[in-house]
Amino acid sequence: MSARDEILANVRRSLGVSATDAARRANVEGRVQRAAPGVRPLRGQGDEGARVAIFIEQALLVSASVAQVPGLDAVPAEIARYLRAQNLPATLRMGADERLANLPWGETQLSLSTGPSAGDDLNSVSFAEAGVAETGTLALVSGPHNPTTLNFLPDNHIVVLRAGDVEPDYEAVWSRLRARFGKGLMPRTVNLVTGPSRSADIEQKLLLGAHGPRRLHIVLVRG
């Protein structure tokens, strides 16, 4: 008997069930198909204004920084300002996302490069799939548009998020993913990011910038 069949047989023997019990199968299939949300905290619910306000509050609590801009065209100037204010080099790496590529970068002195990171980039920018108001979390989806390495390797990660994409909770993000990729299908990687990287492994002292970015800057686009 293969390891697989033996494990499954052992599970069934311990549970006292048979492999052909149609009611149990229907129970499982129904639950997976419905994907019904359970208890969702009230905290993140509310209209867009309320959601954005909670999102910002929560993101600041986990040591991210947030800047609000009136439109996408204002993003390059804000990023340039942020890098200057942090005394960081005016370099920026990004994926192939057209929403980023089409921005007026020429108005800034930023030196741009594109593609995934091999570990030698200081600053990167990604376009978020969504934000989660409940915990100030960003949802980032892999692919050539926003490669996953840009979320982790650079020291400073900048994320562009549209106010209209701030969802109340994780469940709303799953609904978006199903709408985009199909029910039961996922991109290779989805990262939920809540603040910059940290560790408390030395005497429980909280330190930022363990393996991932030391800084997380969110540019929230209104309108």
């Binding site: 599970v11 311990s14 549970l15 905290p41 915990t135 490669p147 990262n191 809540t194 363990a210």
Partner: protein, 475 residues
């Protein structure tokens, strides 16, 4: 080969731990930080208790349908281009990972923190095959340098102080200039980050655990704060997930319900910094990510726990709240438990996995204060399960003869209430008379275990039952 247990020597381990001043200093951090942070995070979420109920019900539902969920999960992993391997035992699981690595000519493996990999002894198995496994979680990296096992399931180096870490880095990172200042924890972190970044980029294979496996999508989910497990599954060309069979959840919705109680119970965060969902290998159009995705589903004793009085233990989502709140863990730390899983969850799980003959001391090392159960996010009745182990130990004649005959004697009287009342009132009367002058005893026959370290107070004369009865008559 599973990690070699020293659980049979629990008593000696505990004595040593109590006398270890460095350890006691480090444990001071556990006693305060974790408890306060959890209480604060739970207090700020009005839905927290309802989420715990939901988490318990969900875990029970999954366990009752585990065979079907495993099949559904496997089908989705295969459909997304991944591979699923099944391992009955620790040895089988190690062999699968070692063979995967060997077949690909791998020389180094970057590992995200994984308790099940500790359970199966994966690092040692890889080393024996000439493959270097590098732990990338800061705490795990530190204890790997020291040749130690984790002493806590989410804070593996919690038994160490900052100076221990500095000394270890000085010993191993020999390229460090002597005058490099490592007195601040920030400097230690920066040193580890630089060293491990190179290891990540050089690794051929990334091995991670999984907090959850999603049947709906074939996704593995891990949570980290450092970003190490996440780099382990995006940089190397092969990603191997090692996970025990009970990690399944039906849907993404179910995973989010558990995430809401996991971080709050563990570290008092509302959400861990990184929650990474991986599904299959990189897609054709992707510009990064691993080319291969493998999942090793490990039984190693779990299927036997189903349907037994220990099934509820399989609800566990490995948050560590039970040990953070345990007075015994606070006193002796995690290493004294002698195997991979310490604290109350370890006291229940370890006998299930390595045998009550080896780990019988662990369920006895409890005051049954109930704090573990009161904070468990999936409401595992840990004291009840420890009591089951004590019963099994008694039935199998594994407990010491003195304890057995003492219990036998007590049972004789307990079954005969009239005799019990008579015997206790006689004994109380005698003790009260004998202790009248001092009001306490410095030594008592058959109670040296108590009187060795403190006095035994002399009884006031009448037993509780007698007083209760008298009071009832009055009202």
């Amino acid at each position: 080969m599973t990690a070699h247990p020293t659980s049979p020597q629990f008593k000696d381990n505990a004595h040593r731990a109590l006398a270890d001043t460095q350890l006691q200093k480090a444990l001071g951090n556990v006693r305060h930080n974790f408890i306060e942070k959890r209480a604060s995070a739970a207090g700020k979420l009005p839905e927290f208790e309802a989420l715990r109920d939901q988490a318990r019900d969900l875990r029970d539902h999954v366990l009752a349908h585990l065979d079907i969920y495993l099949e559904a999960y496997e089908a989705k992993v295969l459909a997304s281009g991944g591979h699923v391997h099944w391992a009955r035992t620790a040895e089988e699981a190690c062999r699968i990972v070692v063979d995967l690595a060997k077949d690909r000519g791998a020389k180094s493996v970057a590992k995200g923190k994984s308790m099940v990999s500790e359970e199966i002894g994966l690092n040692a198995a890889l080393e024996r095959a000439g493959i270097r496994a590098v732990e990338t979680d800061l705490g795990e990296y530190i204890i790997q340098l020291r040749g130690e096992a984790p002493s806590h399931i989410i804070a593996p180096a919690v038994h160490l102080n900052q100076e221990d870490v500095e000394a270890e880095f000085r010993r191993v990172h020999t390229w460090l200039p002597k005058d490099r200042d490592l007195h601040e924890p920030e400097a230690l972190l920066a040193e580890a980050r630089a060293e491990l970044r190179a290891k990540f980029l050089a690794a051929d294979i990334g091995v991670t655990g999984a907090n959850f496996l999603v049947a709906e999508t074939g996704t593995s989910i891990i949570v980290t704060n450092e970003g190490n497990g996440d780099l382990s599954q995006v940089l190397p060309r092969v990603h191997v997930v090692v996970a025990s069979i009970e990690k399944i959840v039906p849907t993404l919705e179910d995973a989010s319900g558990l995430l809401r109680v996991l971080a709050r119970s563990a570290t008092g965060q509302d959400m861990s910094v990184y929650t990474t969902l991986s599904t299959g290998p990189r897609r054709a159009e992707d510009s990064d990510g691993p080319g291969e995705y493998h999942v090793v589903l490990i039984d190693n004793g779990r299927s036997n726990m189903l349907g037994s009085e220990f099934e509820e233990m399989l609800r566990c989502i490995r948050c560590g709240a039970c040990m953070n709140h345990c007075p015994v863990y606070h006193a002796v730390g995690g290493h004294a438990y002698g195997w991979v899983y310490p604290g109350p969850m370890g006291a229940v799980l370890t006998p299930s996995l390595i045998g009550v003959d080896k780990a019988g001391h662990l369920p006895n090392a409890s005051t049954f204060c109930g704090r573990c159960e009161s904070v468990c996010p999936v409401r595992i009745p840990l004291p009840k399960l420890m009591r089951h182990w004590r019963e099994r130990e008694f039935e199998r004649h594994l407990s010491p003869a003195v304890a057995r005959s003492g219990l036998g004697l007590w049972a004789f009287f307990a079954r005969r209430p009239a005799l019990y009342r008579l015997a206790t009132s006689l004994a109380m009367g005698a003790l009260s008379l004998a202790g009248r002058r001092k009001g306490r005893f410095a030594s008592l026959p058959f109670a040296s275990g108590w009187t060795q370290t403190r006095d035994f107070p002399a009884p006031e004369g009448r037993t509780f039952q007698a007083q209760w009865k008298a009071r009832g008559r009055r009202s």
